[in-house]
Symmetry: C2
Subunit: 344 residues, 2 copies
DNA sequence: CTGAAAGCGCTTACAG
DNA sequence: CTGAAAGCGCTTACAG
């Protein structure tokens, strides 16, 4: 394969100058630059990433860690971030935890990401105190999305989960519901992220603000996906005296709830109202009411917060402080799965 | 940061021996190996990937190219492949084309992947003759999933799209339908993959086998996703004399069709039957009849076909020939979206 | 604006 | 089984 010396020879300059010209450094005369570019083109030269990284200390790569790429939110976040990274010339190293705690530990292990990437994006990845220490010791720029625990020096992009949940439950209360169930992720799951707890908190705050006591028998935990929503709802129905409304912690759980209710012969929204959080791509198809959150915007913004400093660009004043959380807006979307409680 | 010489000094051996011991080469005595391992552990040593790659010529990385990570099939394939790669010690470099032809060209450009990865996995990525030449010139192992064009020396994992489509349309015919529409991806889209055409072909074969002529007015092309399914169905209804059944080229398009039909006041399956291909995670929730294809299995198997030779493992006899297509089974799943045609 | 030299931190023949 | 030496292909001060 052709290397930098070949290009240097053909262009009649030193390898150092080829290196500078190809990277667009300003300290190269226009004439020299064009000769180098022509030579590189003619020889089909491509820099060796390994050699460049070893000599330069930059990898041009960002690690992205997500719990499950197959879940709506994470897919959208990764797509938006990937687009931003590639435009900026960065490669994306994907780490999908696949719901396995052991993968989380492997990825976050001090030595794994070291020297392998220039920056880290952690999406909804729970962090213990030791993880935070290890990440800080890596001394790499990073950003978190939807993270409960923050890493010193890393910005965090998120929504206000407590407020989003409050809005969801308040919508059901406004429709006259009083027996409102909540189904959500299993907090004993080591990969459970903070949104679970925040959303439950928002739900309970809304109940209390309406003068209601949260009823433990109306609060069921399961896995944070479609199947989990189905199981949680089945459990709810098994307990007798079913709720007139269900607030699911995410749209995928809400969709599972729809299945369970249908299989139980209950109609939505006539018998039971259902609302989720997300505005999943299929929520419209299903007529699911929800609290919409901007997933792509979170991915794009986090990528920008991560890369702008690396590329020497100035950040917007409001988001320029690392450690600063950027909180994006959510909005209630009412479709056909929520309706007034029947007077009985 | 600690480097290999530090470990060598502490263990009282040469750097070469440290390198061998850490990589588990057999030519190291047990005593030496354990001393090296202990020293490395004590110093928290991690090999520098860039240096190792430059000296050794291996990157330990696989490039995965998908059209859109947010679509069900690609998310599942990537998750399954990622799991296999990481277990084998390989990193995954993700390239999401995001529906942009320009991204496809950038990724496939001869120099882009060169020296950056040890192997390539192309998922449903259309290849022109020049691309195939460029990929072959890279001289890297590769594998394709759901690809119409094959790369010499690369195995391909797929389903029989023609047969899958035939089964879908035959199911509708068996229910007594005669006016069966087909909605599918836009073949003019430069990122359209071969499955579009194969599925249309299977559909038309089934019609002809039943003595019917494919009716162009019942064949609408749009984007290969939910929104495309909606638009295609709206167009279909606009043409008047609506079909009694719709075969969508994928479940996401079928879901879009469900929305359009509902918005038009048509009931599924009483007025119109709908079937897709995939068995998307939400098809069960929607009661969508479909032809199920094993997405995770395709990702896992392709990853294995790619890595086994690299890891020096022997392959199963039946799949050991590169260039060989491995064709996985599909199966008809009847739910609530298909019903007998009304006698009128 | 450009070049000569050193160095990035490993692995690989080669020799023993 | 182990070591000394060379080399992987760049980039970075440094000097001019």
């Amino acid at each position: 394969m052709t290397k930098i010396d070949d290009v240097a020879r053909l262009a009649g300059v030193s390898p150092a100058t080829v290196s500078r010209a190809l990277r667009g450094l300003p300290t190269v005369s226009a004439a020299t630059r064009s000769r180098v570019l022509a030579a590189a083109e003619q020889l089909q030269y491509a820099v060796s990433p390994s050699a460049s990284r070893l000599a330069g200390g930059r990898t041009g790569t960002v690690a992205v860690v997500v719990p499950r790429i197959t879940r709506w939110f994470f897919g959208v976040v990764v797509e938006a971030a990937e687009d931003f990274f590639h435009r900026a010339g960065y490669d994306l190293l994907l780490h999908n935890l696949g719901g396995r705690e052991q993968n989380r530990q492997r990825v976050l292990h001090a030595t794994h990401l070291h020297k392998r990437v220039d920056a880290i994006m952690l999406v909804a990845t729970p962090l213990r105190a030791t993880d935070v220490t290890a990440l800080a010791a890596l001394d790499l720029p990073g950003v978190t999305i939807s993270s409960g625990t923050t890493v010193p020096g890393w910005p965090c992009v998120r929504i206000d989960d407590v407020a989003a949940a409050r809005t969801a439950t308040r919508h059901l209360l406004d429709l006259g519901h009083r027996r409102i169930a909540h189904i959500s992720g299993d907090p004993d799951d080591e990969l459970a992220f903070s949104a679970h707890l925040d959303r439950r908190r928002g739900h309970q705050e809304a109940l209390r603000a309406a003068g209601l006591q949260p009823d433990p028998s109306l609060d069921v935990e399961s896995s944070f996906d479609i199947a989990g929503g189905t199981r949680a709802t089945e459990e709810l129905l098994r307990r007798g005296d079913p709720p007139t409304a269900i607030f699911a912690a995410c749209d995928e759980m809400a969709m599972g709830a729809l299945t369970a209710l249908r299989d139980a012969g209950l109609r939505v929204p006539q018998d039971v109202s259902v609302i989720g959080i997300d505005d999943h791509a299929l929520s419209g198809v299903l007529g699911l009411s929800t609290i919409a959150q901007p997933a792509a915007e979170q991915g794009r913004l986090a990528a920008q917060l991560l890369l702008d400093p690396l590329c020497g660009r100035a950040l917007d004043a409001d988001v320029s402080k690392p450690d600063a959380s950027v909180i994006l807006d959510t909005r209630l979307v009412v479709r056909d799965s929520t309706a007034p409680a029947r007077a009985n």
